[in-house]
């Protein structure tokens, strides 16, 4: 993949797609439930973070350190989002996971992987835990007496599962990909495409939010 094409795709096409779910969320903002509002703010944060990263790249700064910070916020947002579907007793498990993961990320950042390396130890761990959340959510939804498509959270969850499961390999091998930027662009292009799918699925969830929803927890 040529640099010019990749740059157009990765800088001008993919990042603005975050606006699709954000616009749908803003259109139905009053009807968004708390978990969806959380996802909305996560997307806003993600979009801004991406913008800052692109600007830093223009100024020829390294941005890999940002991913260490991003991984923590990403994990906390997803943990809080999924915790709302489970009983309050299980909130402690989520809390322990969030604290442990944050600690691990900080230790990894300062003592294990340096600032110019990707966080290939922590991000895959975060992604695996988020995949487990997602699968537990699917397991729980099997008992719901509702059409799959009528439950807005199914759409959001499908987007999250699709993204984290598909990009897990990339998170693990990110540092290897640094060795050859030319070839790694293809992998990043696949990542970006999956990201668009995630945004579109979340956008469908926000769009369907016009009808009232109930959250059951156990």
């Amino acid at each position: 993949m040529s640099i010019a094409v990749f740059n157009i795709y990765a800088i001008y096409i993919v990042p603005p797609t975050v606006l699709i779910p954000i616009v749908f969320a803003l259109l139905n903002f009053n009807k968004l439930t708390t978990p969806l509002k959380l996802i909305f703010w996560y997307l806003v944060f993600s979009g801004l973070f991406n913008l800052v990263a692109i600007l830093l790249i223009y100024k020829h700064h390294t941005t890999t350190w940002m991913l260490h910070v991003y991984a923590i916020i990403e994990f906390i947002c997803h943990s809080v989002f999924y915790s709302t579907f489970f009983s309050k007793k299980k909130w402690r498990v989520f809390l322990v996971l969030m604290i442990s993961f944050t600690t691990l990320c900080i230790v990894n950042f300062f003592f294990i992987q340096n600032k110019i390396e990707f966080n290939t130890y922590t991000r895959p761990i975060g992604a695996i835990i988020i995949i487990i959340y997602s699968l537990l959510f699917i397991l729980k939804q099997q008992n719901e007496e509702q059409k799959w498509g009528d439950n807005i959270y199914n759409w959001v969850n499908a987007g999250i599962l699709l993204y984290f499961a598909s990009c897990l390999f990339m998170f693990i091998f990110s540092n290897y990909l640094l060795a050859s930027p030319d070839v790694s662009r293809t992998v990043w292009a696949i990542h970006d495409t999956v990201l668009i799918f995630e945004y579109l699925l979340i956008a469908v969830g926000f769009y369907k939010c016009r009808t009232p929803q109930t959250i059951s927890s156990y």
Partner: protein, 267 residues
């Protein structure tokens, strides 16, 4: 070393695409499975509802048959026997001639017997309204309203714009509607303290619409509480049996209103 690095790129790319396809398949399978399960549950629930409706229908039909039997027995047996007793007393001539005490006794006995005959007739008509069977729903409701109007307990205005449709109703439907109207009027007299009530029958190609209203104290704000009463449950089960729906208006302080819609197709 270069070859090994290239290999990793290909493997990562393939891994990502493979996982993507796997997750998409998993989600699609999950969607299919959940929707299938939902459909099965709905079918099961529908079958349960149908079964309950059949049971309800059987209960209502046997109840009506029993009412009819008791009504006819009362009318034919008890009514006839009491009339015979009255005739017997009339024919009896004591040896003492025109005794004053005897005349008083005969008079008061005949008055009591007349009252019993009238009561037995009313009860048997209530149990099995002959007007409904022979002259249709409109005539039966009209007769019932006339009796109540004459009693002075309530002033009922009956407006029937669906005469033809009501004439052709099957006996199960007309009996159900008649019983519902009876129950509503009974509730108005017993609980509402109303002085006036109105019944409107309307019909189009698909629906018979019955609007019932009185000027009593109406329902409480919480309609669900009212629905738990025996009378309302009776109304609900009768209407369910003929696939009719009803809509109660929260009309506290201004009266009671109910709109009943009975589909003609299902009749």
């Amino acid at each position: 070393m270069q070859n090994t690095t290239d290999n990793i790129f290909v493997l990562v790319a393939l891994g990502m695409i493979g996982t993507f396809l796997l997750v998409v398949s998993f989600i699609l399978f999950s969607i299919r499975n959940q929707n299938k399960l939902l459909k099965q549950r709905q079918q099961f629930q529908q079958a349960q509802i149908e079964h309950q409706k059949d049971l309800l229908k059987a209960v209502i039909e046997s109840q009506e048959a029993e009412r009819k039997r008791i009504g006819q027995d009362l009318h034919d047996d008890v009514g006839t026997t009491i009339s015979g007793l009255r005739l017997l007393i009339e024919m009896f001539k004591p040896s003492g001639g025109e005794d004053k005490n005897y005349q008083d006794f005969a008079q008061s006995t005949k008055t009591i017997i007349d009252k019993i005959v009238k009561d037995v007739r009313n009860i048997s008509h209530n149990l099995s309204p002959t007007t409904l069977r022979y002259y249709g729903l409109a005539a039966a409701v009209n007769e019932h309203c006339t009796i109540i109007n004459q009693s002075g307990k309530l002033e009922i205005t009956l407006n029937n714009s669906a005469e033809k449709v009501l004439e052709n109703l099957p006996i199960t439907t007309s009996t159900a509607i008649y019983r519902v109207m009876e129950e509503l009027l009974n509730n108005t007299i017993k609980h509402s303290g109303a002085s006036k009530a109105g019944i409107d029958f309307n019909a189009d190609d698909k629906l018979i619409t019955i609007d019932y209203a009185d000027n009593g104290k109406g329902l409480p704000e919480d309609i669900e509480t009212a629905k738990k009463g025996m009378g309302m449950q009776n109304i609900e089960s009768r209407l369910l049996n003929i696939n009719a729906t009803y809509n109660l208006q929260p009309y506290a302080g201004k009266g009671f209103q109910i709109k009943i819609e009975c589909p003609i197709d299902n009749i």
